[in-house]
């Protein structure tokens, strides 16, 4: 029951933060140089459609009313029409959202699991070659510049050895083939996802490894580890069953703290690998001055970060009984 209250409290906090973001963006929109209307309405649109869109979005109203329209439109999904695509923005971001979610969640889960696993091993072999190798490796990988690493991977694995496709999420041949089954299509997507996922994984797992390692070293000094050994448990059991669950808690916290950074990285990766997600859409639309799409993409990303934070908090509360009870 405590959990429900906790989720509710955090949920309200998120709503408040999101409101602040929405409002700030609205204010900036009006303070920025240039004509606000031309930012939302494509100048090449024909005048009648333009006028209809203007009244739909409430752009001809005084500022206060505009704000209310803005909020209402946001919650009803009226984000305007994209200049570049000529389609409603909602339609576009709707298509992009799942792609980002797949890539983002899998990369975080993969990095976290591998980082925790390897960090545990590194701590256990502290001072020996395995540990030094892992720690130095994690450090070096973690400090590599993400866009550069992405380019290198494309160059080596996609261009030079041709194991992976250069761009995109799907291969036209597979998806236009009427005989291609679900499995084949899924494998195709995974094939395309492999490099971007690997890139994100390489950049992020290092920090989780290092945190788990130091957390593990501290946990192993705790009294309940002495109790576990005194009980006659095997070292393996002590390490995996008693130390690791406690040591993993700070790692979960750090995942939460680095979510904003992770999503920026996700946006860069999507752009370089032409993975059609929200991050790439944001970058793309800003370059094209496609403001309605840019604004909606940004807001959606902010929402993703906030909700991911909630998920991580809930996960932490679930894993640490001191919070739950």
């Amino acid at each position: 029951m405590e959990m429900k209250k906790f989720i509710l409290k955090r949920g309200i906090e998120i709503v408040i933060i999101f409101f602040v973001i929405l409002t700030t963006l609205f204010l900036l929109f009006h303070m920025a140089p240039g004509d606000p209307i031309s930012r939302m309405i494509d100048p090449t649109m024909n005048p009648e459609d333009a006028q209809q869109l203007i009244s739909e979005l409430g752009l001809d109203q005084p500022v206060w009313t505009q704000y209310l329209y803005y909020l209402k439109n946001f919650f009803t999904g009226h984000f305007g029409v994209s200049f570049h695509y000529g389609r409603p923005v909602l339609e576009i971001i709707g298509k992009r959202l799942p792609n980002t979610i797949i890539l983002f969640t899998s990369s975080i889960i993969l990095s976290a699991l591998v980082g925790i696993f390897m960090g545990k091993i590194a701590a256990w072999h502290k001072g020996k070659k395995t540990d030094t190798f892992m720690t130095v490796g994690a450090l070096v990988l973690h400090t590599l510049f993400l866009p550069w690493l992405a380019l290198i991977f494309i160059w080596v694995f996609a261009y030079k050895v041709g194991w992976f496709p250069l761009t995109g999420i799907i291969s036209a041949e597979v998806w236009t083939n009427p005989n291609a089954g679900f499995l084949l299509k899924t494998l195709d997507v995974l094939h395309h996802m492999a490099l971007p996922l690997f890139t994100l994984f390489v950049i992020h797992f290092g920090s989780y490894l290092l945190i788990m390692r130091s957390s593990m070293l501290e946990t192993l000094r705790e009294d309940y580890i002495l109790t576990a050994r005194a009980k006659g448990l095997e070292e393996k059991t002590v390490r995996n069953h008693h130390a690791a669950p406690n040591a993993a808690l700070p790692v979960i916290t750090s995942i939460g703290l680095s979510l904003a950074f992770s999503i920026s990285g996700g946006a860069i990766t999507e752009t370089v690998f032409t993975w059609p997600g929200i991050g790439r859409e944001l970058v793309f639309s800003v370059s094209n001055s496609d403001y309605p799409l840019a604004q909606a993409s940004f807001l959606l990303i902010a929402l993703i970060v906030l909700l991911s934070n909630l998920v991580v908090d809930v996960l932490y509360a679930y894993v640490d009984p001191r919070i739950r009870y």
Partner: protein, 312 residues
Amino acid sequence: MSEAIAKISTRKKTPATSYRTERLKENWHVFRESLLGKLGLILLSIFALMALCSFIPPLIDPMYNPMSGVDPLVSHSVGPSFRHWLGTDFIGRDIFSQLLGGARIAFMVGISAAFMSIFIGTIIGMVAGYAGKTVDSLLMRFADMIMVMPTLLVVLILSSLFGQLNIWTIVLLIALFRWPGVSRVIRAQTLSLKQRPFIDAARVAGASHFRIIFKHITPNVLPLALLYMTFRVTSAIIIEAALAFLGFGDPGTVSWGMMLQWVWKTGNMFQAPYWLLPPGICISLITLSFYMLGRAMDEVLDPRLRSVKQMR
């Protein structure tokens, strides 16, 4: 007997060294023995040297100017040669001088943004920790909100509203979104300092809050703030590089990120490793060296992390 007295009186008298000096000497010893610290410092010196030398190539010959250098003999990207140590980019500009210029930009951006964010973060952290209750709560909530925002993407959306940003605006924006991390730590430190008797003593003596914060709390909080500066420098450099890479940097500055953008966007990525590799290696190495420096300073601050050599 007199010999013994003579020996004693000619023995060098150790001056009464102040506590601060002793601590500094000890800290320097710990730092010096740190392997990471030494490596980090060496790497950083190399980059600093690069930054300082960035003025030299254009003086030798205007064709070496990173932005506007034009080599009459070269008009596209060629590999390394004696004339151009790292080759040229797609319009014949010398890559090596671009690399040196990039070092200068990296230090400039990194240090200014870090300094600004530490400045803001320290003040907010101290005020929050010292004032407590509502002010603290409000400030920390505000910090949380900022921390949730992905800095890179925020700068992106702002540039969509305000047009192409120049380098100093970028630095300012980075600072404005990276201070929350520092403020949390400073706030915690201030809270624990607040309990100490010397603060009470100052208050009893009639010092105003202002004075207490600046004269008493600040000096004790500074070492921690400076430690965090090393981390802020790296994140500032990375954010600027990522922005430049995506095409949103200041077009008038040649940063390493900008170099990567050019090699990528001009389709030279696959054919020009001499152009693709150096900027990325530099960004990664400078991040690594600041991290190592930060770790060494961590060892100074937290004795538990020290190795046996540092203990002696």
